[in-house]
Amino acid sequence: MPKLTVNGVAHEIDADPDMPLLWVLRDRLDATGTKYGCGIAQCGACTVHLDGQPVRACQTKLGDVGTAQVTTIEGVNGRVADAVQAAWRKLDVVQCGYCQSGQIMSAIGLLAGNAKPSDSDIDGAMDGNICRCGTYQRIRAAIHEAARSLA
């Protein structure tokens, strides 16, 4: 039976190894903070971290996760995560909020590897995350704000 470690907790999952991690998280583990948006890696709503790296859970098969640590919005923590979430709240980024789990996971991934991202770094890291409410201006500002608070 495939094993999966999510937010530090090990699970045995009774599912087809081809099942995307997205549906394992949402339907088998009831970890619904990770969202379904498109199923084809076009929107980034399902972004989670595998060993700290942002990936699209809709394109990650359960059987391919192996021993990698899965981190979702429910479990992400640490200095960078705290700064990103605080900036999101300070600037009231969210509207409908549905895409924001994925936006935040991508932003944490960006800032973890780039302490002071430029606007074009932000474009590069965030262009795969769609926000239909159009909160991009505040997402950009919040990433800069988080970077400032981490400096």
Partner: protein, 731 residues
């Protein structure tokens, strides 16, 4: 448990049966024409009854829970509505919580929709303004009366602020939570004193949204996140053409897919019920369905537009007429003639349509979804399930966007959920999930529309006549509301924003032909204004250029009787550093101004247009929404309107080929992305006029401001959406 009720309510909310006692009978007086509704109901909004019981509960722990009767699909109305009540109450914002109201049109109808509980037309704040102020003020006076009684002091000496009731002279004070239980039994004052604007502490201030924390840590519950005990998931195979029906199906292979539990036929197709979403989708892939296309729409969108073009040669039904534009145009010094076309648009909210339904021990039904039209949705599901409406209990969740899609006159996806549940034998709770592909190809689009305009000016540049014909499918004709809101064949939601143009056009006619194609259409964030504002604002721009007058000055000359429109136009122009001169080659400014849903918005777009690429650098917006209840939410809605509508201006279109939708996911129908987002500045006009909405009004002016900027930058006049510079010759 979800939405667990907090203990110690202020006054207990009486349980009431819904208005619609008959099983799903949609016999309701319905009014969805915001303008007519406002004209009819506007003066009465202030006469609303004080109903603190319906809208606020104060717990012994001092929390203030405001009941939200509207769907919050991101527009922030939860925060705005709570602000209004909390300010009148004298609440401490840190103690304010919200919960979504149940379906109960006797308490929670939208005052601008008659007896219907629903959200749309940017009415949430507008219809609730006096209702929530009165509710908050009444609760405040009840708390004051309780304190005066306890302390044996005159109520006139009591003050309230930050969840504390004080008697200054004696220094006594009490928290709301200490008084609430006793205060609840006091009579409700029928005419509580409303605060003077000078006493407001929350309204007009930038205070934090109430949903920011839950929406940044994964705990906010959307409909797609509902997990009931033993819940299963259904996806439905629907016809590839609108109007087709199931001829036959073979479920043998689908039933063999691991996790698939059942396959059932429903009116909209064939449902595959499975242990989880993935298995349901795999099961559907294995399903074979033969469709009967004999009643289906089989044309391509090009053919539908070609039919529209032909019909536009005739005058159509008269929606608006003054003077004799035909005669006036004969005497005009210059005539501009133009055709505008608009494609079907999908709403494409990030959370696809979905709902969970289960049968309760008492024989009733519990449904979990993002309800936008509660009264209609409850009645429609009750009719399918064969019970009275009050037996279908609606539990509202945060909605991952909507832009109009979750409010359908047919309650389409909720009706389907009820049908799937019924066909399943009503055993386990069923979560009906539409995939992204289902959601995008599922119809209920912003209608495709064609406008044809001939407008003329005299030798001095003044408009002398304007002859306007449009063709487009009505949202209301064929719906249960047709009899109520379609007058003489004209659906006001089709023609709004043009038939009622504020421009002083001396001779004007607006004619409309109703489209007849079998494609389901619906309101899409700002409804008719999505196309009418574009046509009016691009045409006015063309006339200004024909007259060789600055386009801002030209508009102002035609808006002398429209001070709020003129106000936002001047403000946006000033803040943008308006100048008609190109700043550099290939870069220009364009302007547009429009009223929708009682709110006034002007935008100046700064655009770079080179070769076939259009880049929007900056948008400066000015808005007048009356009292700005929460300025930061207003700014966010205008910023968001730009981000939302930009992709519709630049590239989005739903097309049909032989009746089949060609765009199924975000690769073919790509929303705006981060790297395309312009800088947006929002300036708010100070006002003490009763507030109107801002969920939609930022959308209509974006397209024309960009199209007009493209003209300023390139001399090319793009009239149709999406804007396409690739095939256009210089004007």
């Amino acid at each position: 448990m979800l939405n667990a009720r907090r203990p110690s309510p202020l006054p207990a909310r009486p349980s009431r049966r819904g208005l619609l006692a008959g099983a799903g009978a949609l016999v309701v007086a319905f009014r969805l024409d915001p303008k007519a509704a406002r004209a009819a109901a506007g003066p009465n909004l202030a006469d609303v009854k004080a109903q603190p019981n319906a809208f606020v509960r104060i717990g012994a722990d001092d929390t203030v829970t405001v009941v939200i009767k509207h769907l919050d699909m991101g527009q922030g109305n939860t925060t705005g509505l709570a602000t209004i009540l909390a300010d009148e109450l004298g609440a401490d914002w840190a103690k304010v919580r919200t919960e979504f109201a149940p379906a109960d049109a006797t308490l929670y109808n939208n005052s601008l929709m008659g007896p219907i509980q629903g959200t749309g037309g940017s009415t949430a704040v507008a219809n609730s303004w006096f209702q929530l102020r009165k509710a908050g003020a009444a609760a405040r006076e009840m708390l004051m009366a309780e304190a005066a009684f306890r302390w044996k002091v005159p109520v006139s000496e009591i003050t309230v602020a930050d969840n504390v009731v004080r008697h200054g002279p004696s220094g006594r004070q009490a928290r709301f939570g200490e008084l609430a239980a006793s205060a609840a039994s006091l009579p409700v004052p029928s005419e509580p004193r409303l605060k003077d604007p000078s006493e407001w502490r929350l309204i007009g201030q930038t205070i934090p949204r109430l949903d920011s924390v839950a929406k940044t840590d994964g705990t906010a519950v959307y409909s797609l996140d509902i997990r009931r005990p033993n819940q299963v998931t259904a996806v439905v195979a629907r016809a590839p053409r609108f109007g087709a029906t199931v001829k036959s199906f073979d479920a043998a292979a689908a039933r063999k897919v691991p996790g698939v539990l059942d396959v059932v036929q429903v009116p909209t197709g064939v449902a595959v019920i499975a242990r989880d979403t993935w298995s349901a989708m795999k099961g559907r892939e294995a399903l074979t369905v033969a469709w009967d296309d004999s009643t289906a729409e089989t044309r391509s969108s090009d053919a539908i537009l070609a039919e529209y073009r032909e019909r536009a040669k005739g005058p159509g039904l008269t929606a608006s007429e003054r003077g004799d534009p035909q005669a006036a145009l004969k005497s005009a010094a210059k005539v501009v003639e133009a055709e505008f076309t608009f494609p079907y648009l999908a709403h494409a909210a990030m959370e696809p349509l979905n709902a969970t339904i289960e049968k309760a021990a008492d024989g009733g039904y519990d449904v979990y979804a993002g309800f936008q039209f509660q009264t209609v949705e409850q009645a429609t599901m009750a009719a399918i399930l064969g019970v009275t409406a009050d037996r279908v209990r609606l539990h509202s969740n945060w909605a991952g966007g909507s832009f109009g899609r979750r409010a359908t006159p047919t309650a389409d996806y909720l009706a389907e959920a009820a049908a799937v549940f019924k066909a399943s034998g009503e055993k386990a709770p069923i979560h009906l999930v539409w995939t992204r592909e289902d959601d995008m190809a599922g119809g209920y689009y912003r209608p495709t529309v064609l406008h044809k305009v001939r407008a003329g000016i005299d030798a001095k540049g003044a408009v002398v006549g304007w002859d306007h014909v449009m063709v487009g499918k009505s949202i209301m004709i064929g719906s249960p509301f047709e009899a109520m809101i379609v007058k003489n064949g004209i659906d006001s939601t089709t023609v709004e924003g043009a038939s009622d143009t504020p421009y002083a056009l001396p001779a004007y006619r607006f004619g409309v032909h109703n489209g007849r194609e079998g494609v389901p259409v619906l309101w899409w964030r700002s409804v008719g204004h999505t196309h009418t504002a574009h046509v009016m604002e691009v045409m006015i721009d063309e006339l200004a250029h024909a007259a060789n007058v600055d386009t801002v000055a030209y508009r102002l000359s035609l808006l002398a009787q429209a001070p709020r429109l003129s106000g936002v136009l001047k403000l946006a122009a000033e803040k943008a550093g308006w100048s008609a001169k190109p700043r550099e080659p290939g870069r220009g400014l364009g302007v547009a101004v429009h009223e929708s849903f009682g709110s006034y918005v002007a935008m100046v777009a700064d655009v770079t247009a080179q070769d076939a690429a259009i880049r929007v650098n900056r948008i400066v917006a000015a808005v007048d929404v009356g009292v700005p209840v929460n300025p930061d939410v207003i700014r966010a809605q205008v910023e968001g309107a730009v981000g939302f509508a930009l992709s519709a201006v630049l590239r989005n279109r739903i097309t049909l080929k032989d009746g089949q939708v060609q765009e199924h996911n975000f690769d073919a129908y790509e929303p705006t992305r981060m790297s395309e987002m312009p800088k947006v500045e929002v300036h708010i006009v100070p006002s003490q006029v009763a507030p109107t909405g801002i969920g939609e009004p930022g959308v209509p002016v974006l397209g024309p401001s960009i199209a007009n900027a493209v003209f300023a930058a390139t001399g090319r006049r793009l009239r149709s959406l999406p804007l396409d510079l690739s095939g256009v010759k210089g004007a």
